[in-house]
Every structure is written in C-alpha cells, then in structure tokens.
C-alpha cells in the first residue's frame, strides 16, 4: 500500500501494538482526535483507552511517567505534540531516561520512545518548528532517530519501539505528507545504527537528515544536470552515529557538504565535520562546508524560507567545495 510518512508512523504503531501488548501510547490529543497530525488516527478506537492514553498538558509528566512505566516492563511510546514543547520535559529525558540504566548498574531500564514532529516550513506558529537533535545527541544514554521517507519511518519506528533503551524519534514535519511510497506492513525493522545512502555519486558527498532531504535532493538533481555526481547520505541515526558510511563516501568523493535546518553553530553538522577533520582529513580534497539555519530563534513564518537551508545555499556550498584547489 502506498502511504505518506505520517501514515507509515500510524502503521508502525499499530503493528507494534498488535505484536506486543506491553506497547502503549500516551500524549496530548492522541486519543479520539488521533493526534494533531493524525499520527495515531484510529488507534484509540482499535486498542481502547488502556493502550492509548490522552494526557493533561504536562510534558515533564508525560516523559517522567513513561520512565516509570518502562522501568516496570511496559513499552511506552509518548508523543510530544511539537518538538518545541520538548523543552519542558528535558529534565526528565536528559537527567533520567538517559541515565536510569546506568544509575542502577543495569538493574532498571527505559525501553521507551518519544515521538515528536520537528522542523519548519509549514507556516506554523511560534515554537512549532524547533530542531533539537544536537541537544539530544549531546546527552548520554539516548538514541536519536530521524526517518526521511515512509518506509524508513515504518522500519525505524518499529526498531525504536523494540530497542531496550530510550529513543527520541524525530518526525520531519515537511515530509509528513510530502510524498507517498509503498510500505510493506510486514513488521520488519531497520537498523538504528546505520546511515542510508539515498543516492550514489562520485564528486561530492551531501550529508543530511530529516526535512532537508528535500532540498538536498533538489541540489543533487541540479548538479547532475551540470555533470556533477553527488552522493546523498541520510544520517537517520544521529545518535549513535554511523561515521563509517560517511568516511567511506568521503574517501571516494574527497568533498563533503553537511546540511541541517537547526541553527548552524553547535549544530550536529559540527560533530560530523569534527570527526572528518579528526579521522578523515587525508581523504578530504576541500574543507568541509556546513549549511544550516541562521543562529537565531526560528522566525515567524514570513521569513522561514530565508531561515531554512535553500537549494540555492546548498548549491553555493557545493560549488565552494568543488571549486576548491
């Protein structure tokens, strides 16, 4: 069946709940309403109010109570309505979910998933477009996973739910309904520790994740018309990061541009660039370039297209690394 990314999320949730009755969902407006993006559409009806729990507005308590449930053997999948509202739950997530296993020498653990839409480009109000992957990647004990297509959303979410540790599953807002593709509802998961090569190429490696796959693909198309072959790597698992795939690619292309929509400074691109400088320097034939959001609060929507990395800015960075002597 051909589905959108958000429908693939629903499919994966339903499959996980059917396969394992320890899996339950909690979050704001996820019950009768099916979530503000309809990611849990129909699940309340299908699984009832003991497995699909509408919560009060308390991000801290949503994440905190998930920790308790997980420690007791359930498999909570919590929804934070928009990633910009995750801040209110960060103490629970960073100080506790990521550390409970370690703080109890493995006696207690947190097999839980926090799903949350992230990123901008849909003319949403203030605080509805933040991208926090680098804050999370900086924190111990948490996996951070970002799908960029319906089939990867399906497979990665199933693996996230089965994972024995906390996973933040960041769902790219611009890709929610962007396109459809056939997804086989076979319960098959995808690995949480590998990048996906979306397109093979020889001349430059474009590294990205989530929403920016759109603009990066457009940039690669344009380069192709000019006879330049770009490889696209979707990082997918920000934490833990698969550098081997990136090293392998840069070894062949010698050039790398990293693109993300979070603010540039201390964005996750900086980590990848640092690792390339550290262990991949001799493969590089040009400095690594990063394209990101500006170092400011995500603007109200009239300016969001100026904030987000555009195909134009990505191409400029590509030209800079390609022309470097």
């Amino acid at each position: 069946m051909s589905v959108t990314l958000v429908q693939a999320v629903t499919m994966a949730l339903a499959r996980a709940m059917e396969q394992d009755d320890r899996v339950l969902l909690l979050g704001q407006d996820i019950g009768v309403n099916g979530g503000v993006f309809r990611a849990t559409d129909g699940l309340f009806k299908k699984f009832g109010d003991r497995r699909v729990l509408d919560t009060p507005i308390s991000e801290s308590a949503i994440i905190g109570s998930s920790i308790g449930m997980a420690a007791q053997g359930l498999r909570p999948v919590a929804e934070i309505q928009f990633m910009g509202f995750l801040y209110a739950g960060l103490d629970q997530l960073l100080s506790h979910a990521g550390r409970l296993r370690s703080r109890t020498r493995g006696r207690l653990s947190c097999p839980m998933v926090i799903r949350t839409p992230f990123g901008g480009g849909i003319r949403a109000p203030e605080h509805h477009a933040d991208s926090l992957e680098s804050i999370l990647a900086h924190s111990p004990g948490i996996r951070v996973v970002i799908p960029s297509s319906p089939s990867r959303a399906y497979g990665l979410l199933l693996s996230a739910i089965q994972d024995p540790d906390p996973v933040v599953f960041m769902e790219p807002i611009r890709l929610y309904r962007g396109s459809k593709e056939p997804v086989n509802d076979d319960g098959g998961g995808l690995p949480l520790d590998t990048c996906f090569v979306l397109r093979e190429g020889r001349d430059v490696t474009l590294v990205t994740w989530g929403n920016c796959v759109i603009e990066v693909s457009e940039a690669a198309d344009q380069l192709e018309e000019e006879g330049i072959s770009a490889e696209i790597i979707d990082v997918a698992s920000i934490s833990r990061l698969d550098m081997d795939t990136i090293f392998g690619s840069v070894e062949r292309t010698g050039r790398c541009v990293i693109v993300h929509e979070a603010a540039l400074t201390a964005g996750f691109g900086a980590e990848i660039a640092a690792r390339l400088a550290d262990e991949g320097l001799l493969s590089l034939r040009a400095p690594v370039k990063r394209v990101g959001g500006f170092d400011t609060a995500y603007p109200l929507y009239r300016l969001e297209n100026h904030y987000l990395p555009t195909t134009h800015r990505i191409l400029e960075a590509c030209r800079a690394v390609l022309d470097f002597e």
Binding site: G31, N33, I57, A124, L300
Partner: protein, 352 residues
Amino acid sequence: MKTVASFKIQYTQFLDQEGKEVQPLPAEITDTQLAEYYRDMVFCRVFDKKAVALQRTGRISTYAPLIGQEAVDVGIAHAMKRDDVFLPYYRNTGTQILRGVSLIETLLYFGGDERGTAFKETRQDFPTQINLSTQTPHAVGVAMAMKLQGEPHVAVTTVGDGACSKGDFYEAMNLAGVWGAPVLFVAMNNQWAISVPYESQTAAKTLAQKAIAAGIGSEQVDGNDVVAVYDGVGRALALIREGKGPYLIELKTYRLGDHTTADNASRYRSDKEVSEAWKRDPIARLRTYLSARSLWTKDQEEKLLTEMNQRIEAAVEQYLAIEAPRAAGMVEHLFAELPPDLEAQRKILDGM
C-alpha cells in the same frame, strides 16, 4: 481526628443566560459602561470572524478564534489599568487590542511577521504566549519587580484550563504566594484543551481550587457574563493593590469555535454540546439585558456593525499593503548590540 484545613470556592454571576439579573448589578457599573462592554464584545467578534476569514484565504496563518469568550477579553481589559502589565496567552487577542495593541500589529503577528510584536502602545506588556504556561513565572517576576520598586501596578497573566496542568503554573502560584507578589492569574476555563475535555485534564472540580495549595486566594466567576468578569477581575485587582497578595480567578466559559484554524472540533465533540453552549453566548446575553432596559436598539446594532466592519476593513487594507519583512530582521534584535559573527550572518540575510 480533627480538620486542620478546609476550603470553599465562591462563584459569581450577575446576568444569567437569559440576560436576567440574578443579583443587583454592582452599583459602580453605569449604563454607559455596559453599552461600552457590549460594543467591545461585538468588536471582538467581528474582528475574530475577519481573522478566521483572512486565514482561510491565506492572508494570515494559524489563528486561535476567541468566539464565545468575548466577555472574558472585554471584562479583563476594562478592569485592568493601563500601567498594569498583561502577559497573555494566544486566546486573548481581544484584551490585547483593547489595551492598545493595534489591529495592524495583531494581523502582522498572526500573519507571521515579527513586526507585530513591537507594540507601539502597550510597551510593558509581554508578547502573546504559545508555549503553554511558560509566561506565568514571568508574571510573578514582573509583579515582584513592581513591588520592590514601589509601583502600585499588578501583573495579569492568562492561561487556559489545559495550561493549568503544567508545572510552571503551579510553580508560579507557589512562588507568588511565598513572595506576596502582586500578580493576578486568570484561568480561562473554556472546557476544552484542543480535544481533551476538562474532566480528562484534571481531577479537581474547579481550577480556582488549585490556588488553595499555593496558599493564595481564588474564586470562580461566570466567564460568559461580562459584568461578573469585570466585577471579579476588578475586585481581585483591588485586593492585590491593597497588598493582599496574589490571586487566581477562574473564568468559566466555552470555546465555541475550533481550537485554531488548523483544528476541526467536530472530530471530538458533539454538535449538541456546542449548540447548548451557544445558549450561554455572552453577547446575546448582554444584548437581551440592554434591550429589555431600552438601552440598546436595533438601529444602534446595525450602526455598530457597520462601524466595526469599516474600522476592521480599513486596518486589513493597511495590513495587506505593508511591505514584506526584511530577512535580516530575524537576527537584528537578538542582542542589544549584534556580535561580529552575527553581523556577518545579518549581511548574508540582507542580501537575500
């Protein structure tokens, strides 16, 4: 066993849903004032309808309709003094405008343009808050600063019933109680937080009672009775000005519209409930009362609507004619003085 603490919550209403006096109206409210409240409520409704229409045609983006809650907006605005500080959430657009935020600023904000938060008139008021309850501790700080600096003003912050579940709200009330900060918390209980009904939001019978645990005063009033809102908020503000501490007032109302223009309320609540709620419409209620006392005529109504529509249309026209925001605007107000590395980013944006 003995009782070491107990509590009760008072409820106030002056006009019932038929527009009949259930108790004599407060003596200090004149007929002229009542007519003014009426006009302002109608203004809120006309503006609200226009804003929804502008969203439908793509001229602004997500907007949170206030329809059904006009008495709340108008009662708060009239009870507050100009020098009080308002820290609202997104469904108090009416109060903001009545306090002096211009229609154009309001449209700019919902139209995704930062210039809408510059507030030429209400210089001390905070921008509308979308991140639920996060403004409530700010209100405590604003209030405490005014107290420490010997200013007789009050900080007024509004939240929805859903937002009252959040830690910030409890923490703010607790802190305000300890500090004796001159702050008024207004809980707009419109029964729904998007799709979550009041009963699923809290096991507490009233929102007002949440103040008890913080050791501060509270009460509930009929939020669809503008007289009760004006009176209740006014009494609370007077109390706070006398130094009798922070206060929480719960305004019981109903969200007649969708949560926002991005929502479809028919997914989760019945038409019957909504049509029942229309019987408590705050505007019809006051109109009935005023008409019965011959203080309002059909002619006046028609004239008022024409006048309001003209005023709003004129503002919309001006709004639509405003030149697009400059991209560089997104970094220009980050720091008092832009650091050199951001200056470089500003230049890039300026070239866009």
